[in-house]
Structures are given as structure tokens and as C-alpha cells.
């Protein structure tokens, strides 16, 4: 009985919350509506399956606990999501205008997305025929930054993943000498402050002539991605059944065949998520680019850095929205791979 009642209060809270949300949204006080929804709606809904023997005290504690957790989750996710609606602002502001809050279509526009393409073009306002697109592809600054980011990202990922996977295979063997020390050295690029790495790279690259080159940036980014590859691949190799490789070898497979046919398929999920981590690391890196790259190697984060420091405009919010969508896609991929890996390893004995 109590169970039904509590379930009802939970649903009631949610309905009440949604109701207030719509009412206040109509009058424009989205802020008040949202706060009410947060404080009453979500906690009451989440607590609806509290056990029947719960006392009033534990009910109260549960309410406070759920409310606090709701607020913390909001703190985590809201900053990532808030850029999405803001990027459709019709005005050059970084906040919600009155028109946006009352869902007036005039308050929204795609002009900042258009601006991503136009910024840096020779003739941005020319009619949009093939020559306009050629101009955009060649000159628009964000497009050029995106091209650089992809080139640097892909090559540094290939480098980091190949070397990192090989090393992880060696490191996960029990007979590996100086395992702990070597592991500590290989993980340290993740720990050492980026400014220090970038400063050192600047000195070193200036000496050997790698400053202001793609090769220099790619090598640096690969180094920063390696810890992620090692961590993810060694994690997949934990509990790896080494009798499988012995079985393959006893059946006459050579080392390469064993690796390709037996080991690689089993560790592939880990390798791919390591590669994605490495790619994201490179795709997001700005300090090294700031120190050792020239104008020719401007990447997306570098361009954003410039944008925030110099001419701050909602174009950055539009770029940020696109990047958020990319990270959603990457997160989904990694999550699927992780589940696949768990399934694969669940099948192998040991």
C-alpha cells in the first residue's frame, strides 16, 4: 500500500514538475520553472521505489541525497549541453535572449554555423556556386583548422596505436624485466604538465629543426596519446588466456599468424578504444601546438583558443556544438566496444 502511495507521490512530483515547467515557460520565467522541476520533480520520481519499511527519517535523507546527486549531475552535464541552444542565437550574445526563452523562431538562427564556413574566405558574400565552395575549401580558417586537426590526429593516432599496442603486449607478459619502471616512464606523458612538455619540445625541436613542422606536432601528439593506448590495451590483456597463443603455436602458426588470427581479434576492442582516446587527445590538444607549431599547422582547438582570446563571437559556440556531437559519437563507440570486449572476455576461459 505504502509502495503504491510512494509511487504515486513520485509520479505526482514528476507531473507537477512538468506542469510548472510548461506554465512558467509560457510566461518566460524558464529559470523558476526549471528550478522547481529540479528540486521536486526529479528527486520525488527517483525515490518512488523506496522500500515499504522506510521510516520518515530515511525518506528525508533519501530526498536530500537524491536532490544533491541531481544537482551534481546537472553541474556535470549542463555546461556541456548549454552551448547547443546558445549556438543558435540570432544575436551576438553568449546568453539566452528574451526571444529565445519564449521560443520565438526569430530568436534562433543558423548564422554562426554559416560563419564557420565564411570566416577567412576571400569572397564570403559571393553567390554560392562551385567557386564559392572552392574558395571556402581553400581559404576558410575553420575548414583549414579542421583539415590540420584531422591530418595530425590520424597520423599521431596510427603512430601511438602501433607502438603502444606492441609495447602493451610486451608489458603484459609476466617475464617482462623492469616492468614497473618502464610502465611509469611510458605513462608519464599523461602526468607531466603539458606546459613543461611543450617547453622542452620547443627547445629540442628548435635544435633539430622540427619546430613549425607537421612531423614535429604529430610526434608530440603521438607521445601524449601513448599512455591512453597502453592503459586500455593492458586492461584488455588482463586475464588474457595465454594458452590460446600456445595452442595456436602448437598447431603450427608462426608469430605473425598467431598475433593476427588469435591475439588481435581478442584485444581489438581495447586497441580501438585506445586509438580513439589517442585521437581525441590529439584532436583536443592546444598547448603543444601553441608552442611548436606555426600558422600553417593551426588546429581546431588552436583556432578556438585564438577566438576566445581575441574576437569572441558565438561562432565558437557553433564549433563547440559540433565538437560536442563528435564526442557523443565517440563516447557511444567506446561504450559499445567496451561491452563487446567484456562479452569476448567472458567467453574465454580463465
Amino acid at each position: 500500500m505504502t509502495k503504491i502511495v510512494s509511487r504515486f507521490t513520485g509520479l505526482g512530483g514528476l507531473v507537477l514538475g512538468l506542469f510548472t515547467l510548461t506554465v512558467f515557460a509560457g510566461t518566460g520565467s524558464l529559470g523558476i520553472a526549471f528550478s522547481l522541476f529540479l528540486v521536486f520533480g526529479i528527486p520525488l520520481w527517483a525515490m518512488s521505489d523506496l522500500p515499504a519499511y522506510a521510516t520518515r527519517g530515511s525518506w528525508f535523507w533519501n530526498y536530500v541525497y537524491t536532490l544533491i546527486c541531481t544537482l551534481i549531475f546537472l553541474f556535470l552535464i549542463a555546461p556541456v549541453l548549454v552551448v547547443i541552444p546558445l549556438s543558435f542565437n540570432a544575436e551576438p550574445y553568449f546568453t539566452f535572449t528574451q526571444k529565445m526563452l519564449s521560443f520565438d523562431p526569430d530568436g534562433y538562427s543558423l548564422r554562426w554555423y554559416d560563419n564557420i564556413l565564411k570566416f577567412g574566405m576571400l569572397a564570403p558574400d559571393a553567390p554560392r556556386d562551385s567557386s564559392w565552395f572552392a574558395d571556402m575549401w581553400a581559404n576558410a580558417q575553420w575548414i583549414r583548422a579542421a583539415k590540420n586537426s584531422v591530418i595530425i590526429g590520424i597520423f599521431s593516432t596510427i603512430l601511438a596505436t602501433t607502438l603502444g599496442t606492441l609495447a602493451a603486449l610486451g608489458l603484459s607478459r609476466p617475464e617482462m624485466p623492469y616492468r614497473r619502471t618502464i610502465m611509469a616512464v611510458l605513462i608519464s606523458p599523461m602526468i607531466v604538465p603539458l606546459v613543461i612538455v611543450a617547453t622542452g619540445l620547443f627547445f629540442f625541436y628548435s635544435d633539430i629543426g622540427l619546430a613549425h613542422t607537421y612531423v614535429g606536432v604529430i610526434m608530440a601528439h603521438a607521445t601524449l596519446g601513448i599512455p591512453f593506448v597502453i592503459i586500455t590495451v593492458t586492461a584488455t590483456l588482463v586475464g588474457f588466456d595465454h594458452s590460446l597463443t600456445r595452442a595456436a603455436q602448437s598447431l603450427g602458426a608462426n608469430d605473425w599468424t598467431t598475433f593476427r588470427q588469435v591475439i588481435l581479434p581478442l584485444i581489438l576492442p581495447g586497441v580501438i578504444s585506445g586509438a580513439l582516446f589517442a585521437f581525441v587527445t590529439s584532436f583536443d590538444e592546444v598547448v603543444v601546438v601553441l608552442f611548436v607549431a606555426s600558422f600553417d599547422q593551426q588546429t581546431i582547438p588552436r583556432q578556438m583558443w585564438n577566438g576566445i582570446r581575441e574576437q569572441i563571437s558565438p561562432t565558437i559556440l557553433a564549433v563547440a556544438t559540433i565538437l560536442v556531437l563528435i564526442s557523443v559519437a565517440l563516447l557511444a563507440t567506446v561504450e559499445l566496444l567496451r561491452r563487446r570486449s567484456e562479452r569476448l572476455r567472458g567467453l574465454s576461459p580463465g
Binding site: 520565467s29 529559470g31 528550478s35 530515511s58 546527486c69 551534481i72 553541474f75 556535470l76 552535464i77 555546461p79 556541456v80 548549454v82 546558445l86 553568449f94 546568453t95 607502438l163 603502444g164 606492441l166 609495447a167 610486451g170 617475464e175 617482462m176 624485466p177 614497473r180 611509469a184 616512464v185 605513462i187 608519464s188 606523458p189 602526468i191 607531466v192 604538465p193 603539458l194 606546459v195 613543461i196 612538455v197 617547453t199 622542452g200 619540445l201 627547445f203 629540442f204 635544435d207 603521438a222 607521445t223 586500455t232 593492458t234 608462426n254 608469430d255 582516446f277 592546444v286 601553441l290 578556438m304 583558443w305 576566445i308 569572441i312 559556440l317 565538437l323 564526442s327 563516447l331 561504450e335
Partner: protein
């Protein structure tokens, strides 16, 4: 390479035969080598094979990571801008180790003029002046000016130089030049610690007004500690919720932790700018709730605390608050994930057992649950603290002047002041701190236990 592993166990199966009736004879493999030796050899080969897999990466990291850091350490004690461009004067300093202050020797001034003339030809006077300027501000112009006129200077050099600019007659300048004449110097480390050296080599603390670096190190430490504390405070409840909810809910909520983790640092910093600006989303929200603004409920109170600007809005950005809020958000996942993986392993039956034995909810939590989460707290807190110490991007964009950390001053020294040796010395000190913490992390948590998502 194909069948080394087969060869490494020579005669795996014939071994059974060698267990011959004569028990006291040493065991041998089929080709006669003692078994102990054969096994050793096999073991050694296996170790080499494991090591060979790691070698390419080790070499790569040696080139792109270890060498640059070694170069940074070298740069922090080595600067030959003066010594290599002023060879004659440097030589004179070596030959006259006992002369302090302005030399009476005409030869010193002859060497100086000669060097200034060559500097003018090679256009290195700026470089030389900058090097001396690090230790004695205002001397750069002295060098550029003197080098410009050096060609016309004639003997007697001492008088001519002193006529040109009377600053050449200052003891401090000659003391600084003597120290700069050796390429190796500790002066950049001294400067990083707000110390300086008198001309005769005594170390003292610089003026209160000129002390920046030690304060900045302390600020970096306390802000990182505060951010770590805040992260722990926020991560604990949600990690607990994630660990105790049924899997289908917790997987959904986990996305809320992992999505920020996967989102670009610059995107998150940008959105914090949008949220925290004085005309930004948060301030607008508070104004629309009637809390702040020109006629807000709390405006008077905030104003008396000095926390409101002229329009009654709260300045959340370009100060320490901005750095702390944004960095707490950015580093929070690094605290949640280790906490979660530890809490996941705590059986819920322990809490139920404690409750059934009469413990209150608080006692059960305090005595049973909390102690078991300590490894997770340690791992998360150390990781967040280490990462916070070296943060650069976020403080640079939302921190303003008061909310910047030591990394920002290193970048400043590199990119704007061109004082590379100072940047290197500051970097080396920061690196030392971070490495000690990293070593602690390895001892307490173990690098193998680091997990991502």
C-alpha cells in the same frame, strides 16, 4: 623468429626420458645441456622477446619526451647568450677571478669595447642586453645604446666608456656580468624562488614587491588542494549512487560523467565562459529569479561583502572563483571514476549486516562503508591534484590575473618575455613537485590500476 619459443624449450617431451633410473645424475635435456641451464636460457629468451616488443616505443618516447625534458633541465642552468657573444670580456673575467666591482684594469674595458663592436656587427647586442637584463632590469638599453656607438670609441677605453654612460661604473652591473660570463648559472633557479645574489655572491630574498614566484607556487598548491577537495565532495555522492543503482540506470547516469570526460577541454572552458560571464547565463538566471541585479533580494548583502559589481551582478569570471569552478567541473570525472570502481566492489550486504546489528545509518556508513572507500579517495585525490597542479588552458582563459597558476607564468615567460631559462627553471621546479606526487601515486595506488572509463 618463427619457432624460437619451440626451440627455447629444447626437447620438451624427451625431458621425461631424461628422468632416468640413475637419480643422482644431474638432469639434462636431450642434447646434453643441464636442465637448469636450458631453463635459464629459455627464460632469458622469453624476457628478451618481451623487452623487444617494448623497445620501439621506448626509443620513441626517449626522442619525443625524455630528451626534450632533459633539454629543459639543461636550459634551466645553461644560458650562453652573454658568454658566447662577449668572448673577450668573459675571458678577462676568467683571468682575473679576484676583481670585484668596477675593474681598474684598462684591459677589461678594451675587451668590453671589442666585444660590443663585434656584437654590433653580428646584431647580438639585444641578446646580450636581455641576458643581463634578467638579473639587473634596465640594462638592455645600456647594451644596445653602447653597441651602437662602440665603433667610435677610442683609447683610453675606460674613460670613453664611462663618458658614454655612467651606468658602466656601477658595481652591480659588473657583478651581474661576471656571473653571466659563465654559461652555467644558478641564477634562474634563484629567481624562481624569489631570491637574488649580491655581486660578491651572497644570496638574499628580493623585495616584498618583486616577489611573485613563491606566492604563485603556493597559490597553485592551495588552489589545487581546494579543487581536489571540491571534486571529492561532489564525486562521493554520485559515485555512490552510480555504484548502488541497478545497472540499467547507472549505465545511463554514467553517460553524464563520461560525456564531459570526452568533450574537448576548450569546449567545456568556452561553455563556462558563457555561463559565468557577468552578462552570462548564470547571472541572468539569478537576475530572473530576483536574487541579484539592480533590485535583487541579495544585492545589498552581496554588495556589502564586495561580491557584486555595479549592476548588482556577481563577477564569477576572470578571478579565482572562475578558475576553481571551471577546473572542478573539468577534473570531476577523474575523481568519480576511481571512486566508482572501488565502491563497485564493496558488497551491499556489509551495510545491511551493520544495520541489522543495530547500527544507525550514520554509524554504518562511518564505520563500515567509508573506510572501504579510502583507496578510491586516495587514487582520485592524487590524480586530480597532480593534474590540477599543471593546468594551463582553463586558468588562462577564465582566471584573469588573480586566478592563474604556475603553468601560466611559465608560458608567459616563454611566449611573451622570451626568458627561456627562467621558464625552464620554473618548469623544472614544477616538474620536481609533480614527479614526487607521481611516485607517491605509484607507491600507493599503482600505475597498473589506472583506468579510463
Amino acid at each position: 623468429m618463427t619457432d624460437t619459443s619451440a626451440a627455447s624449450l629444447p626437447g620438451g617431451s624427451p625431458m621425461a626420458e631424461s628422468l632416468s633410473p640413475t637419480v643422482d645424475a644431474p638432469l639434462t635435456t636431450v642434447d646434453g645441456t643441464p636442465l637448469r641451464e636450458a631453463l635459464h636460457k629459455a627464460e632469458r629468451q622469453k624476457r628478451w622477446r618481451a623487452f623487444l616488443l617494448v623497445v620501439p616505443l621506448l626509443l620513441f618516447v626517449l626522442i619525443t619526451f625524455v630528451t626534450p625534458i632533459a633539454k629543459l633541465l639543461q636550459q634551466s642552468i645553461y644560458n650562453d647568450d652573454f658568454s658566447s657573444n662577449m668572448p673577450n670580456l668573459s675571458q678577462w673575467f676568467v683571468e682575473n677571478p679576484d676583481s670585484f666591482g668596477v675593474p681598474q684594469d684598462e684591459a677589461a674595458f678594451e675587451a668590453l669595447v671589442l666585444d660590443l663592436q663585434t656584437a654590433r656587427e653580428n646584431r647580438t647586442q639585444g641578446q646580450i642586453g636581455t641576458r643581463v637584463n634578467y638579473d639587473l632590469s634596465g640594462s638592455r638599453s645600456l647594451f644596445t645604446k653602447s653597441a651602437r656607438r662602440a665603433a667610435r670609441i677610442e683609447a683610453p677605453y675606460r674613460e670613453a666608456i664611462l663618458d658614454l654612460d655612467k651606468r658602466w661604473g656601477e658595481d652591480d652591473l659588473w657583478g651581474v656580468m661576471r656571473r653571466a660570463s659563465s654559461a652555467y648559472s644558478s641564477s634562474f633557479y634563484l629567481k624562481s624562488l624569489d631570491l637574488a645574489q649580491t655581486p660578491d655572491g651572497e644570496i638574499y630574498q628580493v623585495d616584498k614587491k618583486q616577489q611573485i614566484y613563491v606566492d604563485l607556487f603556493w597559490r597553485t598548491v592551495w588552489m589545487s588542494a581546494l579543487i581536489t577537495g571540491l571534486c571529492l565532495l561532489l564525486a562521493f555522492p554520485i559515485a555512490h549512487m552510480l555504484a548502488t543503482l541497478p545497472l540499467r540506470y547507472s549505465n545511463l547516469l554514467m553517460i553524464m560523467v563520461l560525456l564531459p570526460f570526452w568533450t574537448s577541454l576548450l569546449v567545456r572552458t568556452t561553455s563556462w565562459i558563457a555561463l559565468l560571464q557577468s552578462q552570462g547565463v548564470l547571472n541572468d538566471l539569478f537576475v530572473s529569479l530576483g536574487l541579484i541585479g539592480t533590485e535583487g533580494v541579495l544585492t545589498g548583502m552581496l554588495d556589502s561583502l564586495g561580491m557584486a559589481d555595479r549592476e548588482g551582478r556577481i563577477p564569477l569570471m576572470y578571478n579565482q572563483a572562475g578558475t576553481i569552478i571551471a577546473m572542478t567541473h573539468i577534473l570531476l570525472p577523474f575523481m568519480v571514476l576511481p571512486l566508482y570502481s572501488v565502491m563497485k566492489t564493496i558488497p551491499p550486504t556489509y551495510m545491511r549486516a551493520a544495520r541489522s546489528l543495530g547500527a544507525t545509518q550514520f554509524t554504518a556508513f562511518n564505520k563500515i562503508y567509508f573506510p572501504q572507500t579510502v583507496p578510491g579517495i586516495g587514487a582520485g585525490a592524487l590524480l586530480v591534484f597532480i593534474l590540477a597542479m599543471g593546468y594551463y588552458i582553463t586558468p588562462a582563459l577564465v582566471g584573469g590575473a588573480k586566478g592563474t597558476l604556475i603553468s601560466n607564468i611559465i608560458a608567459e615567460a616563454m611566449l611573451n618575455w622570451y626568458n627561456w631559462s627562467l621558464a625552464a627553471a620554473l618548469g623544472a621546479l614544477l616538474l620536481a613537485g609533480v614527479l614526487v606526487l607521481y611516485w607517491l601515486y605509484d607507491r600507493i595506488v599503482g600505475i597498473d590500476n589506472m583506468k579510463l572509463g
